[in-house]
């Protein structure tokens, strides 16, 4: 098993873009290869493309070779697309890592892309109902917002979590995204603004929800021993964990306790050989405000049920117990399904290199984790990154 480094990467501006899927791919490709001086698409032998549902959003399958073509890559070792809906991009990084660490690939690009704005947004919402089991859950009009609304309702009932506490997550992440030039949202929000935003599915207002977003991004992965040929400041993948329990809502472990996340956390800490308190930055999957609150709990930064108090006390801010989502999170940056995990990794890469604005810079960060959930929060995926190799 070889150690694996990330030596470069790039992203598009995220948001409601006046651009097509193929445009986003090309923009990201240019950004990726402009980030490294002495590495070109001709050096890449493998490509893994994370894409949630291009079949629905742009009526296109077999997208991995299409990305290869637009990026000017001729793959000689591995080419595939990964779909794990909201964690599709993280699956791409995990498999690119697996290919490089085993020697199946030598220079791999982990790419992610989603074009989610459609002429008729009800069609886009329709696409999102196949994220859950369409015949048994989606059929009831259940897409992510109502599912997480019911999760929030139970969490509020069982643990006394409040709407104010949930809104504070949105306030924090929008604050950080104002300092992220590629973020979808560039304005601060207040608790009052969250409460006054339209009700999507009670208790979730619009600003409790991450958005449909267009975006693409990619990373270059190579064996760690070669990293310094390309940059003095690479980032290393030091561990990863993933777990799933059930799929249909009836078969979840619990609505208010994300058992598979706790499993994935343990596996990540074990494979990375780190302790939880060594983590300096946590990019967590805040698809909804309640998600981030439940993630503080599952990672063990606070007691079960005390996630609301944790944000109320300002503990997940930079300088607190743990810097959570200094990128701006999905709430601030938007959530282009396939691209999200790549954008998280890229921001951590820039954090380690000191390339982010001062207001959201986590000084002397050595270890970071990025987390994505998918489906009915029945799948949780985590990657641990470090600035140096121990």
């Amino acid at each position: 098993m070889r150690k694996v480094a990330i030596v470069g990467g790039g992203a598009t501006q995220c948001g409601k873009r006046d651009a097509g899927w193929r445009d986003l791919v090309q923009e990201a490709g240019k950004a990726i290869f402009e980030s490294v001086d002495n590495l070109s698409p001709k050096d890449v032998d493998s490509l893994i493309v994370g894409a949630g549902q291009p079949e629905r959003f742009i009526f296109q399958g077999h997208v991995a070779p299409m990305v290869a073509e637009y990026l000017g890559i001729t793959t000689r070792k591995v080419l595939a697309r990964t779909e794990l809906m909201c964690a599709s991009g993280q699956a791409a990084i995990r498999y690119a890592w697996a290919c490089v660490t085993t020697g199946m690939a030598d220079v791999a690009v982990a790419f992610g892309v989603e074009k989610m704005y459609m002429p008729d947004m009800a069609e886009a919402q329709t696409n999102m109902t196949c994220v859950l089991d369409r015949e048994w859950d989606g059929v009831n009009g259940l897409s992510a917002p109502p599912f997480f609304a019911m999760t929030a309702q139970r969490h509020m009932l069982e643990f006394g979590t409040t709407k104010e506490q949930m809104a504070l997550v949105s306030v924090k992440n929008h604050h950080y995204s104002t300092m992220n030039p590629v973020a979808h949202f560039q304005k601060e929000v207040t608790v009052d603004a969250v409460f006054k935003s339209p009700m999507v599915a009670p208790p979730l207002n619009l600003f409790d929800c991450s958005s449909m977003t267009d975006g693409a991004a990619g990373l270059i992965l190579i064996p760690a021993e070669d990293a310094k040929k390309y940059t003095d400041t690479p980032m290393y993948i030091i561990g990863t964990g993933q777990a799933s329990v059930g799929n249909v809502i009836n078969n979840l472990a619990s609505l208010t306790e994300w058992v598979p996340l706790k499993m994935a956390v343990q596996e990540t800490l074990r494979t990375a050989n780190i302790k939880r308190d060594e983590i300096d930055i946590a990019e967590l999957h805040d698809c909804f405000t309640i998600s981030e609150i439940m993630e503080y709990e599952a990672f063990g930064w606070c007691e079960k049920g005390k996630g609301g108090k944790f944000i109320e006390d300002g503990r997940p801010y930079i300088g607190g117990k743990i810097a959570v989502n200094p990128r701006g999170g999905l709430l601030g940056c938007g959530h282009p399904l396939g691209a999200t995990a790549i954008l998280q990794a890229l921001d951590i890469f820039q954090q380690f290199r000191g390339e982010v604005p001062k207001g959201r810079y986590v000084k002397d960060a050595e270890i970071a984790i990025a987390h994505n959930l998918s489906g009915a929060a029945n799948v949780h995926s985590i990657i641990a990154y470090s600035r140096s190799l121990k």
Binding site: D120, M121, A122, E123, Q125, T126, M128, T129, D133, R134, E135, W136, D137, G138, V139, N140, G141, L142, S143, P145, P146, A149, M150, T151, Q153, R154, L157, P198, M199, V200, A201, P202, P203, L204, L206, V248, I249, N250, N251, L255
Partner: protein
Amino acid sequence: MSVKFEKIKRQEMIKLPYMLDFYPLQDEKFTRISKFFQNLKEGKLTTTKCKSCGKLFWPPRIVCPECFFENLEWIDLGVEGELYAFTEMRLGAPLGFVEDAPFCIGLVKIDGLLISSRIDDARYEDLKIGDKVRLKIVELEDGRVFYRFFKTRE
């Protein structure tokens, strides 16, 4: 040389294809659990139970994943359940449901299972966790059926 222009038609209205509506295909040509839908037509919400290990499944299955036994029996779940969680779809309803919005969705506890369902005849404000809800069957024009629950008034 002038370039020729010609207007062509894009068919604006098409019959909704089955894979773009939400309701499952139900007859025996398309599923081996067509019995579930036949039972629904008779007013019964049912699911399968493994005759070997006794495990009750939702949704119904054709093979027990615990022991790979194929001899499953149909169990009637009754008509009354209890609301475990609920919300109301106000923004972002999918195609086909846009005209229904706002509508309530809930998780119904019934025979130890947690079944997601539309909750009819109520607005969000009318509901509370623990409310009793009762089965109803909705019939599509093409003959397919599905289950919902509604809040009982008594």
